[in-house]
């Protein structure tokens, strides 16, 4: 199924690993923030910024760019990390996360950095905004794609389903949603807190085309986005099954890591593990 050569996949995996290290580093520095979500979604942000999305770091307001909308704003550290790696701002600036005077607000703000596209944090309204951009773009015959990344916890908000209905009715095939299905939220596991399954059936019944992937497999993610771009007549939802805290074994799947940063000691331990992982990617990949 590979549409991209193995060396590219390896490069993307290394980028995602680097982004994870930056996230661990910046969260420890910030002293607050979310750890599990950003680590789990690292591969998807990397795939978008380094392979799948059309964008130009030198022209962030390029009219034809794909729009990458982050609905669950609390995982923004990974977006900051990946955007810094892509050249949108200096890596050193990541150290200012959540600090007074920083452009890197605790939750993303478009007025601080235009390339963030939207402002988010309160859950459930990103898909509406993405649908508005997609609808307006189609009015003007624009060819760009609008991506909207959401959390699974967000599926509990009413606003999401208002947007789902709108996009389904209007057959917004230039809209690709991506749900980070990591099964955790602040109060516990999603299915205990407020079940959202059967998720695929829900989206299909709202007239969306649904693709399920392993969201921590970059090759699968890239392939799913390619497939989604080739679908007409319907908006597309990619349900990306991810592991919260991915890359650091002791916190993987642990919902208590949803909303806390690592301590200095944990940071050193986590970075060591991610360096080991980098070594594995470099040595074992098929190229």
């Amino acid at each position: 199924m590979s549409f991209i050569p193995p060396h590219t996949i390896k490069e993307l995996e290394l980028k995602a690993n680097e982004a994870r290290m930056l996230v661990v580093d910046m969260l420890e520095d910030a002293g607050s923030g979310h750890t599990a979500g950003p680590l789990g979604i690292a591969d998807i942000f990397t795939a978008l910024y380094f392979h799948s999305a059309k964008h130009d770091v030198h022209n962030p307001d390029w009219e034809e760019r794909d729009r990458i909308i982050l609905s669950n704003g609390h995982i923004v550290p990974i977006r900051y990390a990946v955007m810094a790696l892509a050249g949108y701002f200096p890596i050193e600036e990541l150290k200012t996360l959540r600090k007074f005077g920083s452009r890197l607000q605790g939750h993303p703000e478009r007025s601080k950095i235009f390339a963030l596209e939207t402002t988010s944090g309160p859950l459930g309204s990103g898909l509406s905004q993405a649908a508005g951009i997609a609808y307006a773009g189609r009015m003007d015959n624009k060819k760009f794609t609008t991506f909207c990344l959401m959390s699974d916890g967000e599926m509990q908000t009413g606003n999401i389903w208002e947007a789902a209905m709108f996009a389904g009715k209007n057959r917004l095939s230039n809209l690709i949603g991506i749900i980070d299905r990591n099964n955790i939220q602040i109060n516990g596991m999603t299915e205990d807190v407020m079940p959202i399954e059967p998720l695929k059936d829900k989206w299909e019944s709202f007239n969306w085309h649904v693709i399920e992937v392993n969201g921590n497999n970059i090759e699968e993610v890239v392939y799913a986005i390619d497939t989604a771009r080739a679908i007409y007549e319907k908006p597309i939802m990619i349900i990306a099954h991810t592991i919260p805290g991915k890359g650091i074994k002791e916190i993987e799947f642990d919902y208590t890591w949803h909303g806390k940063p690592p301590t200095k000691e944990e940071e050193q331990k986590f970075l060591k593990e991610l360096r080991t992982l980098r070594g594995k990617i470099e040595s074992t990949h098929h190229d």
Binding site: P122, Q129, A131, G132, Y135, M139, N159, M165, F166
Partner: protein
């Protein structure tokens, strides 16, 4: 006397045309659509009663139907503005901004996007529908948001002008409208500018006496304030009336001068007195020019079913209530 650009038969209620502010808005939206191709109209299943259908007929490709989904209405408009459109979003004020306040705050105001939020059927005058549909908090909600401009037109003509002006204003605007018909007492010639208060009735030139109290009003009650001022003049009390169509940004300079000239203020609005026009004026004057004030408005109660006239009486928003408030302020000076 009174602003010469107002209707020549200002005091003859029978000769004045009766029209709702939503009608002026509907015409204004069509005009805005003609002037700027970026204007789009989004409506949450209320296109007839909000007069959005007039725009829909003229520009069907620029009309977007949302269904009963006010949160999506606001956030989707944010997306369209993000792309480069100038969206107007129409619903009843009780639902928008009543229900979607957070979406307006986060996705529109915080980004300073040029989305125009049109809250129809605001105030008690929507009448028989009852408390659930009588928005009495919307001015407060909207004026608390940074970047937001808040407009409350006093009649249909002003609603038309406010709509056209809002389109040209590069930022979010809230326009508050009423369902009920009210006297059209301004004319095409009456000036309108966002952020500019206007003295519609000058007590000094009308009665020859310096004004003793100033009334600051918004919405259709501006007309009631003018009638009150005229009756008071007959009784020997000189009163001036200011039309404050822009609640935010507040024309602080004109308001301070008005308070200085009149010495006491009565505010009049079809809204909770907490958070609305009266609060805005009090905040402005308290800091550097406190004067005796009375607040005509709804005092911490919900509305109920009834005719507009019955409700104005029950909640103390009649011409005679305004007169009583003026006399109270006068006595406190």
């Amino acid at each position: 006397m009174f602003d010469p650009k107002l209707h020549k038969d200002l005091f003859s209620k029978i000769k004045l045309e009766q029209k709702a502010t939503r009608d002026g808005f509907g015409l204004g939206l069509v005009e805005a659509g003609k002037q700027d191709a970026r204007v789009v109209a989004l409506c949450a299943d209320l296109s007839e009663s909000t007069r959005t259908e007039w725009f829909q007929k003229e520009f069907p490709e620029r009309y977007v139907e949302l269904g009963v989904a006010e949160q999506n209405l606001a956030a989707l408009a944010s997306g369209m503005a993000n792309y480069g459109k100038i969206p107007f979003i129409m619903s009843y004020a009780a639902f928008s901004p009543g229900r979607n306040n957070e979406q307006i705050r986060t996705t529109i105001s915080l980004n300073n996007f040029p989305v125009k939020i049109v809250g129809c059927h605001a105030g008690l005058s929507v009448g028989p529908d009852g408390a659930t549909h009588q928005a009495l908090e919307d001015i407060g909600l909207m004026r608390m948001q940074p970047n937001m401009t808040v407009l409350v037109p006093c009649d249909s003509n002003e609603a038309y002008k406010a709509t056209v002006a809002a389109t040209k204003h590069n930022g979010p605007v809230y326009i508050r409208l009423a369902r009920e018909k009210s006297p059209v007492f301004t004319t095409e010639e009456t000036s309108f500018e966002i952020g500019k208060a206007q003295i519609f009735f000058d007590g000094h030139s009308y009665s020859g006496k310096l004004p003793e109290v100033g009334i600051i009003a918004c919405g259709s009650l501006v007309y009631s304030a003018i009638l009150a001022a005229r009756e008071l003049a007959e009784e020997g009390v000189s009163v001036s009336v200011m039309n404050l169509a822009t609640i935010k940004p507040l024309d602080t300079q004109s308001i301070r001068k008005f308070a200085k000239d009149c010495g006491g203020i009565v505010t009049v609005e079809e809204h909770q007195v907490t958070g609305g026009l009266g609060s805005a004026i009090a905040e402005c004057l308290a800091s550097d020019f406190p004067r005796p004030m009375e607040f005509v408005g709804v005092h911490d109660r919900f509305g109920q079913s009834g005719t507009a006239e019955e409700l104005y009486k029950e909640y103390g928003l009649t011409v005679s209530d305004i007169k009583i408030a003026v006399k109270k302020v006068r006595a406190r000076k």
